[in-house]
């Protein structure tokens, strides 16, 4: 495929996967991030859950806390979906597609946090869910502001535009706010579940990784849209 069609994306374009209007593209940076997410997802998929030993009060006995197979299965499933969605968000070349990937990460994160049978953790999951719902306004609203102003939401076309209108800048800031709400605040709420050392904690790690990678990718998108340099 003709690489010059897509202009400079802050790195050598290694290849594209065209699916109609939605084009996945690979540059060294986002290919690396995608591979990191996939590798971690693979580790999650083959790992066993953590079982803990709790000391009992008033005696010298220990109590082993294990996760039921059922609970373990759903958490692993959601963690794998979260990892795959993170990998997809790294390489997608369409702004609206990116926001949908972020939404998928958000809802799966809610599920991973909510699969703990404790009132406090359920409360954290609920509050996180509220933020995720509010965040759909800046995510889709910001993307649509960019669409209205630029006439396209393909990052490969946005990078070629020679101008940035104030509306596009506002739109990109709104998308950033949305990403912060869907995925950026996730570690805060995940800590709530971790603090109690709930059995099965290892799957929570994917929340931290995905939020880190998505924020890095979001900054790359901000640079693509606003072109400060």
């Amino acid at each position: 495929m003709d690489a010059s069609l897509f202009g400079a994306l802050g790195g050598q374009l290694l290849g594209i996967i065209p699916l109609g209007d939605i084009v996945f593209y690979f540059t060294p940076l986002n290919l690396f991030m995608c591979a990191a997410a996939l590798a971690f997802t693979f580790l999650i998929a083959i790992s066993q859950t953590e079982s803990q030993v709790e000391a009992e009060f008033g005696s010298l006995h220990d109590r082993e806390v294990k996760v039921e197979k059922k609970e373990f299965k759903i958490r692993r499933f959601l963690a794998i979906v979260c990892g795959l969605a993170t990998a997809g968000a790294m390489v997608t070349g369409d702004l609206f597609d990116f926001t949908l990937f972020v939404c998928l990460i958000g809802i799966v994160n809610i599920g991973i946090v909510a699969a703990v049978k404790q009132v406090d953790v359920l409360d954290a999951a609920y509050q996180y869910g509220l933020i995720a719902m509010i965040a759909s306004l800046p995510l889709f609203g910001g993307a649509s502001l960019i669409l209205a102003s630029a006439g396209t939401i393909s990052l490969l076309q946005l990078v070629q535009l020679s101008y940035t209108t104030p509306m596009m800048a506002l739109g990109s800031i709104l998308v950033f706010m949305g990403v912060a709400g869907e995925s950026g605040v996730a570690p805060f709420f995940a800590t709530k579940a971790e603090m109690f050392r709930t059995p099965g904690s290892p799957f929570l790690l994917i929340i931290h990784l995905s939020s880190l990678l998505v924020i890095v990718r979001m900054i790359e998108i901000l640079l693509i849209i606003n072109k400060p340099f």
Binding site: I110, V119, F140, S144
Partner: protein, 222 residues
């Protein structure tokens, strides 16, 4: 002029007022969330914020905007589904009181559910199959919901649940297959269209049916 080169001036002129309305609606919702204390009220107010998002997207006024509204709507719906379930579970756990899973204003165990369900269910499913896609799925799902609610027989909820859920997952794969056929074998686009349309149909229909299984288990408990 079937497809114009530029967006018509009417839509361009309407864009700015529409966005202003969207921002105002969003601000009202956000203000409400910032001051409201009741958790359930906040959940309802987030819906207003979601409507403001829809105004932002619709204001663009192209066919593209029209198809982008659908993902936005579905994301809102999906999140409210998951979060309200979490809220209910939390409240039940916190109060420790005995409450119904699906609170209903009246006793749902009615005579009519035993006497004339099958014809209505079949009719609804037939109409849904004719329509296909999201709309058809919703209509046919209503039919399955009605059928499942009305069966007097109890038991096998777990197996039935997993069976229906499995079929729903398979139809999701059908859809993915249809999507891939579009790009790998573009000459068979008609097959791909039907795989996609009926994949959605089966999926949406069975989801509504699953809600029926939960509902029946709840109100026939007594």
């Amino acid at each position: 002029m079937i497809v114009p080169d530029v967006v018509s001036p009417v839509v361009v002129a309407l864009y700015t007022p529409a966005i202003i309305v969207g921002i105002i609606a969003g601000l009202i919702g956000l203000l409400g969330i910032a001051v409201e204390k009741n958790d359930l009220q906040i959940l309802i107010l987030t819906d207003l914020v979601g409507i403001s998002m829809m105004i932002f997207v619709c204001a663009v006024g192209t066919d593209l905007a029209e198809s982008l509204v659908l993902p936005g709507l579905v994301v809102e719906l999906a999140e409210i589904l998951a979060i309200s379930e979490v809220l209910m579970s939390r409240e039940i756990r916190r109060n420790g009181k005995e409450v119904a899973l699906i609170p209903l204003p009246m006793h749902m165990d009615m005579e009519i559910l035993d006497t004339s369900p099958v014809v209505i269910a079949i009719l609804l499913i037939a109409v849904g199959a004719f329509e296909s896609g999201f709309t058809g799925g919703a209509v046919a799902g209503g039919g399955i919901l009605f059928y499942v609610l009305s069966r007097t027989m109890r038991g096998v909820p777990s197996g039935m649940w997993e069976g229906i859920a499995g079929a729903s997952g398979i139809s999701w794969c059908l859809w993915l297959a249809g999507f891939m056929v579009f790009f790998v074998f573009p000459q068979y686009w008609l097959l791909a269209l039907f795989l996609a349309a009926f994949g959605v149909f089966i999926k949406v229909a069975f989801k509504a049916g699953l809600i029926g299984v939960i509902g029946r288990e709840e109100f026939k408990k007594e």
